[in-house]
Symmetry: C2
Subunit: 280 residues, 2 copies
Amino acid sequence: MNLVLSRDSQVRVMEATVANADKYLGQLCSLLAAYTRKTARLRDKADQLVKWLIGFANTESPELRATLRDFAEDLAKIQDYRQAQVERLEAKVVNPLKLYGAQIKQSRAEIKKFKRVRNHEIKQLEKLEKLRQKSPSDRQKISQAESSVQRASGDASRTTQQLQEAVDGFQRQKLRDLQKMFLDFVTVEMVFHAKAVEVYSGAVHTLQSYDVERDLEDFRAKMWAAYGHSDCRPLPGTAPSPSLLWSRASQAQALTRSEREEAVAGEADSAEDSPEEGRG
Amino acid sequence: MNLVLSRDSQVRVMEATVANADKYLGQLCSLLAAYTRKTARLRDKADQLVKWLIGFANTESPELRATLRDFAEDLAKIQDYRQAQVERLEAKVVNPLKLYGAQIKQSRAEIKKFKRVRNHEIKQLEKLEKLRQKSPSDRQKISQAESSVQRASGDASRTTQQLQEAVDGFQRQKLRDLQKMFLDFVTVEMVFHAKAVEVYSGAVHTLQSYDVERDLEDFRAKMWAAYGHSDCRPLPGTAPSPSLLWSRASQAQALTRSEREEAVAGEADSAEDSPEEGRG
């Protein structure tokens, strides 16, 4: 009976190994999926910022317009890298973890098979024990029961060995997969961050070389042009058109400050909520 | 009357400038605040990943345990840099934009003042016109009205000049602030990404030097130790304890696969939902 107990405690270690992997790898999968989703949300916000930059650039003087457009392009490039990061995290980290369920199921099946064989062995042992107590002189039946026990023990030994090999293989695969997966995670992240540094370095030069004074001259010229002509000259390249802004601003005169702030906040909200082209 | 119309159209340009700034800077403020919040959400998820790594490391063999702890430390370090990024974005980008409301209010007050003075000028002009039509011979009254118009025009001229200076100052400040704010944004982002690259490079070495085979030997020794002793040896450094896992696994035998999966998923959920220490 001692051998049966030894096998049992060994299987308990294997079972704990598989259960532990099931629990922790399941948690890891949902954590990394959530991390990837949050990265995608950050990309969405940055995409909105790119749109804002382009919209605002269209209402500004030439120097700032050009600067903001260049900056928007850099920021958009970083979001493309972020999109690649999201796709790679899904492909190299989240999806392999999702597939782990199948391997765990396989290991559980091996353990179940072992238990079935072991129960058969115990039954044969009990049968032999009973026979020895009830009819100790029936040599033939005892001998039959003894050979049944031997067969059952042989089966159990084989199954235990198979189980050992299966769990050993499972553990080796798990350790290798974890190493690979975390290395992939770090590599994907690192590539993105390195690209971001590279693109932002260019953006710094763009923003630093912006010349405020030239735009101020343009602005003053616009004011003086308006002074010279009694018609209200529209600002160039405008969305929304200044005449619309003007009419809104006129309306706003009749409103209290807080009412007007609400109206402006509403505009900002609707701009934020506008549907975006999905990235698929 | 032509001068009055010229001033009006000039003020319309100024008003459009201020309204445009109000609208777009309000949108920018809420966009960048949202971008900062999403960054904070990403940091939270990565913090959960750090906790998972430490928890899982405690259930694994010595080599993997040490590797995962080192990796968790690197990942935690990156989240500290991300926390600094969030704080800097708030301090250098979002908060300055929030303060812009006051400057816009000031410019609107200047425009309002100009309109009051201009209305007074128009009234004086109309009075003079009426007088010239009704009593063209009343030289004294006409002369009084003419000097009233002159005073009102003088006031209007002065106020227009003040307004021009105010809006010119507003525009200069706005352009400089935008340049500074976007430069700060890019710098804060760039510093974070550069730090992330640096720390992840170290993590790559940690993960690459992990030796699967040594842990497998440890695992096999554990299995054979269990085989040698009929008691179930606990795995070292355990949370949750393998005996608990074992009792759970035993219970699970009586459950269907999907019921058990639910139970395991429930554990994973409760682990994910566990309250985190806030970062303030």
